[in-house]
Structure formats: C-alpha cells, structure tokens
Assembly symmetry: C2
Homo-oligomer: 227 residues x 2
Amino acid sequence: MVTPRQRAREQTLVDITRLGREQLATVGAAQLSVRSIARDLGVVSSAVYRYVKSRDDLLTLLVVDAYDELGEAAEAAERRRRRADHMGRLRAVAHGVRDWALAEPARYALLFGSPVPDYEAPAEQTTGPGLRVPMLLVGVVDDAWQAGALVDPATPLSKALAKDMAGVADGLGVELSPAVMARSMFAWTSLFGAVSFEVFGQYGRDASYSRRLFEHHLDRIAAEVGL
Amino acid sequence: MVTPRQRAREQTLVDITRLGREQLATVGAAQLSVRSIARDLGVVSSAVYRYVKSRDDLLTLLVVDAYDELGEAAEAAERRRRRADHMGRLRAVAHGVRDWALAEPARYALLFGSPVPDYEAPAEQTTGPGLRVPMLLVGVVDDAWQAGALVDPATPLSKALAKDMAGVADGLGVELSPAVMARSMFAWTSLFGAVSFEVFGQYGRDASYSRRLFEHHLDRIAAEVGL
DNA sequence: CAAAAGCAAGAGCACTGCTCTCTAAAGTTG
DNA sequence: CAACTTTAGAGAGCAGTGCTCTTGCTTTTG
C-alpha cells in the first residue's frame, strides 16, 4: 500500500534530482548548492536534508542519473543497427556517447572528469549504470569475434595480461576470451579519451575540425580492434 | 635594478605557489582556499589578494606550474633515449606522463579533468607549457617519419582532414605532413585517455592490472602510429 | 483517538571568496 | 634629510556555502 506521503516524498526526490540536473548543466558540479536547490524548490535549505543526506549524496543521485541517461542514449543508438553490422554498432555507440557528452558537458564531466575530492561514488549504486556503455562495447566486439569478423592480432596477449583480462571479464559476469576483453578495453579507453579531450577543450577553442578528427580516431580504434 | 621589495614580492609569490601546490595535492582543486593558504603563510586572507587577483588567478598559476612540471618530466624521460630509438622515445614520454600523473593525481586532474566552472585558463599563459608534451609526441613521430621508420597507413587521410591537420601543424608553428600530425594526435588523445581512466579510477578500485593494461594500450597506440 | 513518525521552518556554527578602509613601513624624490 | 608616494598587511564586513539542532505542526498508525 502506497500512502500519499510516500508518493509526495518520491515526487520531491524527483524534483530535487531534476533541479540538480538543471543546476549541474548551468553552473557545474562545483557550484552546485543544496541551498539554491531549496530556493528553487520553494523550501528552506534544511528541509532538503530530509531527502538527501548530504551534498555528496545528492551528487551520487546525479551520477546515477547521468550514467543512466548516457547508457540509454548509447543503447538506443546501437539498437538501431542490425546485429551483424558490427562496425555500424561500434560507430553508433561512439557517436551516441559523443553526442550526449557534447550536449551535456557538465554531467559528462561529473562522470569522467576529475573525481570530486573526498567523495567517491558508492560502488553499489554507480557501477551498474556505469557499466552500460562498456557492456555495450564488449557486446559488439564479442559478437564480431563470434562471427569470425575480427582480424587476427599481429601479436598475442602476454600470459599475465590474458589472466588479467579473464579476471575483468569474470568481474563483469560474462564469458569472454581475453583477446576480446583487451580489445574492448582499448576501444573503451580510447573512445572516452577522444570524447574527453573534445569536451574538456584540449583541442583549443575553435574545434572546427573536431568532428572529422573524431571520425578519424574512430577509424583507428576500429582498426586496432580488428573490425 | 632589483629592489629588496621586488625580491620579497617574488619570494612571497613562490611561497604562495608552493602552498597552493601542497593544498592541491592534499585537498584537491575544489577545496583549495586562499584563506587556508593565507593561514599557512601566517598572514591574513586579504593580504594574499595583494599577490593574486582572485582564486581563479591562483589556479592559473598552479596550472602553469603543473604543465611545466609534467612537460619537464616527459622531456627528461625522452632525453634519455637515443634520437633514432623512436619506439623507446614514445614509450619514455608515455611512461613519463603516466608516472607523473599517478604521483600527482590532483594536479593532473586540474589539467585534464573537468574544467573548473566559470574559469577558463587564459590561453596566452597556459598554451605554451600545455603544448610541451604534444610537441614531444609530434617530434618523435616526425623523426620516425623522416627516417622512413613508419609503416604506411592502410587508408590515407581524407582531403578535409588533411587540410585540418595542416592547419593544426601551422598553429603549432611546425612543418609537418598531415599524416604525421593525425597520427600524433591519435597518440596524444589515446595516451591521455588511458592515463585519465587510470588516474580517475574508471578501472575500479583494484588496479592491479593497470600497468600491464597500460603497456598493452601503448603497444596498440604505437602500432596505429605505425611504429 | 492517542501515540508515533515525518515534515518544514528557523536559528545558528564554521567556513568560503572578496572588498573596503585603515595603519605602518618602505622606497623615492626635491 | 625631510616630505611625499607607494605598498604590505590587518581587520571588519558582506554575501554566500554545507550542515545541525530545536521547535512546532501534520500525517500515519496501533
């Protein structure tokens, strides 16, 4: 049985998340303040602490929210491709991530930028949503591998690294060859490296070439994955 | 003619930078406070504003400081290799960057993490030091190219991207083939992507495999560069 | 219907960046 | 060398922050 009070509480939590998301987008994570959210909510600051234990707790809420939206964006883009179109799926994921990141730079920064000091996202809440994109990537690479569509690597993995990758795959709860895992991690790391450099402005202010450079990087990543 | 007052002023500025650097390492950029620096300096907070216009101004000081130390570390590592040892030089730069980043995560985050909101590093002061590592990379790749040590790419650059890369090289003030520029940028982006993921904890808390994974990524990057 | 639990308000603490005015010392100049 | 100017630092103060605690009030529950 759901009481009106529970419903109101949930609604308030949703409102807080929404206002936090807006503040994140406009003023950024550092300037995000629970007092200002309280003002927008038409309530005194201490009232917000009934719903959110601390500012860090609020950040966790927003981290999960952002991971989920990013994951959903990437998954939606990937779903539009045929299962056998491995290259298309990889490109879809990559562009899904990049488009979301460019549209939501502050929220992207919250996920992949500097860790907020003295705050570490509680693993039990954030790892799940945070793994959606990586899972998508290993899915694509593994499908290609199973279909025999991957070019063989010039050099095989070292024994130690193969063991490491087996452990990572195990941690993800999937059955994968170490080679697939290693290639996926390279794709993952390089993809987000490219997106981060673009979002964080490392290429300089005039990023007129950034989209073409991203395409190029994507081609290089795909080549290294073996696609 | 340098007056004692000028000397004292310079010394105070050095002290402020040192204390800022320490605070950055201990509490991070977000928690960095000029009041606390004033306390450590044994002076009242308003006095610090005689030397530093604002907190952002202090951040700029620390950004330049960090870029210079990172650049120096990478250059020192690279200098230890013979000029013709292109692979060794690339690896030296990469490990120089990684080692510094792992030793100074907060300062690395200041340079390559989320941009501090409402603060953008003034280009005229930061671009120079910020380009030291990229310049090092293009130097290595170009040397290899000139020496004919680079494997030819499977697919040539598109016309548009070649033009973009020519523009970038021009902006750097160096004479480079677009292919060299593109490969350097891929190396740069992927290298820092790998380092950022490691420093920012995206691989999870137990990074037991992180060094071996980095070596693997480095091999993949080198392969894609053509080394 | 009375007890328990949940809610918002308001005051207050310790902190922040930053500005202002004031005093005293140091440097410069006629 | 005395008068003037520049400068470092102190201290008060403003507006903002995260967060806690108490105090009434309302809703839910036994």
